[in-house]
Symmetry: D2
Subunit: 283 residues, 4 copies
């Protein structure tokens, strides 16, 4: 499937400011960027792309010297080649002694995913489930059932530890709680930020990936969009290192516009319609 994704972020710059943006789609075998463009309203601006460590995220650093309005536009056409994964064929257990070294850090607690405080809770709710994929599916079902999706109910400080009790939040909070539960059960898990087709209202979306049987399997506890409809921007520990914009200096956000359209007819959704339950991995 092909998607056209766009985002436009506008700011009022009050004084010298450095932005770290995280809005470009990952370019990989499963997610091929056919075409993309990045424009701003400020002439001669240096847009410095870089990746951090082993992660696929394409950070974009922009330094603005002077006060004034600032708008950045990103547009891309992306071809998705996700192959459904037969989840029944995944190794049923976590084998930490075998996972790749770069997976290990996703076991540790992070700013918004305080897994170290969730051991007992996770063990009591999900400890009896022996198959790892089923365990993470149960986590998603639990979140979907127990946490209300309420726009504006949380803020930038809200974390898994808050959500688990307050029981309301947005996609970012759903993802944080899913990740925290996984890590509390020794399942490596990471945050997934992306564009989402059919998300209403249109916005950036947040989901998560859990490392099962050697693969990073995709999960979305919000169940707001069909599977096969996400385009990955980045994965990371949590929203702290995958935020679409980090601002260092003095600038006020004005607005964010996001869109995601399908350029191909809706195909048969193997994941949801076939008899054999299949999962997704963005690799």
């Amino acid at each position: 499937m092909k998607f056209k994704i766009c985002s436009e972020l506008a700011y009022k710059i009050n004084a010298e400011t450095t932005f770290i943006f995280n809005i470009q789609a990952v370019n990989s075998a499963t997610q091929l960027i056919l075409q993309e463009s990045l424009t701003t309203n400020v002439a001669g601006l240096k847009l410095e792309e870089f990746t951090s460590g082993l992660r696929q995220a394409r950070f974009l650093r922009v330094h603005i010297e002077n006060a004034g309005p600032f708008t950045i536009n990103y547009t891309a056409i992306v071809e998705m080649n996700l192959t459904p994964v037969n989840v029944h064929a995944l190794h049923p257990e976590i084998e930490l002694e075998k996972v790749d070294d770069d997976v290990i850090p996703y076991l540790f607690p992070s700013r918004y995913c305080q897994s170290d405080k969730l051991y007992n809770f996770a063990e009591k709710e999900f400890g009896h489930i022996k198959n790892t994929y089923e365990q993470v599916s149960a986590i998603c079902n639990w979140i979907y059932k127990n946490v209300n999706y309420v726009s504006g109910s949380t803020n930038a400080s809200s974390s898994a530890f808050d959500i688990i009790t307050q029981r309301e939040g947005v996609c970012r909070d759903f993802a944080h709680l899913g990740i925290a539960f996984c890590r509390a059960l020794s399942i490596p898990a990471r945050y997934f930020a992306g564009y989402a087709y059919k998300l209403k209202p249109q916005d950036f979306h947040a989901c998560f990936e859990a490392h099962i049987g050697g693969k990073w399997m995709f999960f979305d506890a919000t169940k707001m969009v069909p599977s096969h409809s996400l385009i990955k921007i980045a994965h990371g520990y949590d929203a702290a290192d995958t935020s679409f914009a980090s601002i260092y200096g003095d600038a006020n956000p004005l607005y964010v516009k996001v869109s995601c359209e399908s350029l191909t007819p809706d195909v048969f959704d193997a994941h949801e319609k076939s008899g054999t339950f299949k999962g997704l991995s963005y690799g």
Copy 2:
């Protein structure tokens, strides 16, 4: 200077367990390992060393199948070649637009360093100081003056957000608060775990590094040991990814023994005794 460092960690294994240890000294130009050994009481155990991403930490993965006692011993002789840095010559301001890409992640909040909640506090206390090195020095002085070092006053869940109000903690908490303050002021900062000569009682020590003028400068808000007396094990976001032992499975810690001896006569401490104030960087 040469140091001999040792650590011994003992556990009661109840069932299959994977350990991620973080006890070996970094091997680098400024910290040269002359000799080292790693032994356990369990015959035929695979000790798998790896580093994570761009970090210098030498993680050690050990998988133990069967119940029983488990002890791991690490010994090394390390030669330190730290060159004092003239802090007056450091660039006085943070220049985020110029820092290396791998420095950026140390601006983000992490599990134990919730810098996103400390903006106002940090700005009010330290915002008026214009020189970055002086700002971080002021942070250390503030922590030293305002937080009581009290063994046992905190636990594995305690974070900078707790310490800033409760005003007591141990070296780990002092480091977390220092890091959180730095990041709240847009100064990249990372956790430093190490062995420390003359630390009483002997234990692993925690400090932090702040990125100033293109260098990772060393800071210790506890002021418990002379400078030039630390041997780095790892740096990371915070204690979450530099813990000396992470346990996945079922095992009880029994004891931790740490020692650090000097093998050369105490040399003149340029940092503290010279007229020109000098800082340290582990590179």
Copy 3:
């Protein structure tokens, strides 16, 4: 001085609801109600006034059976007869062994005033001040200087423990922090809810009282209104038991209108203009 105070609270009742309102002025020797009225838009409603324990608060219980709009109006004319207290003549120390029994509970931590977490902080900041009135004045000055008054920066869950680090809040938060500091220093303190003349924008106001030398002395860390301009609605442990409206059932708040006018010319403000510093006590 005479004041005319008014409040109007409007709700959309969705299903059977019980309200506990806390909007009527205290009637006492220092605050004499000359005239007052209470009206609603629902005919035949029982308005049940009661006080709780030894407190002066006049709770109002209203039970509404049916869905529909609900508005309650309160108007009163109040004569204030506060006598300034010479704070230099107050006993300089807390004498817990002598305070009345009903003062003791105001030493305990409460929902929004977690004084048990603030011992070290309070001791370090204010422990050196020996005179209790000066100590509480220093607390107010510290809050005024270190906490930004920012409308909308906090919510109904925010407490002293949050504010002390986040350093922004509204009058309710300023009062909570003042109370928490006092109790951490063994000074009995209680929340003061009232109407305030010259408050902009017009709203309910929150301050606090500290028990010094046998009197409940008035303090306002926001410094937003002149002294002598408050009309007390209630005092209590904190906002939890002095909320202007507690809703049990299913109702949505629509709006709150508050006003407070002076019916006498502005008199000489002895507190602020005289050479001798004087305090206030509402008794």
Copy 4:
């Protein structure tokens, strides 16, 4: 049934200290004190008993001028005359519009019972249960099943908001969580501190009371002791105002010894053995 209860509390006084003790049994129709004594090791000490507001708690204020050892002993013989309550005959719903005025404050959140953060959680877990007594019983069963009783797992700062996620605690934490859930569901609830027969190890015990059908019904989510075996010391908002000892000054606790013996043969326990389920109320 008759019980003999004793407690001995010992302290090292470093400087002038005021204690507020809460160790004496309530004297009431259902709990008749036949005999009691209070002794200390300090000659000529004034032991000042008082009650606070409408509560039955018998606070004891003791002021000690000089440094030295201090021990206080309390012994009493108490006759319990609790009449089992047929819980099926209790009014099935909360009728806030009818409860006595002094019950209302037990609806508000308090230091350790942040019911204002538990609305969604409580509604999702217990909202479907229509009968109030059954609802509170379900709360106790949930706590008993989901929270591990682990000595030393919590401290004086731990609250219902912590316990609900960390899922371990002691009797005090079980009571706080029970109270917080009740209040979140608009059921008035209060903390119950007491002596408990057959509690192992012997210590003060904490339970809670919920206001149902006009009565304060007794609940113990720990299920550690048989019903009919508690002697009430106090009820209050939570542990903050029913602590067995509050210390204002400079003193170190040395030890606490508590005992509770039955002076009559164990009688038939109507509550647990009869066909008709019966509850208890201490009045």
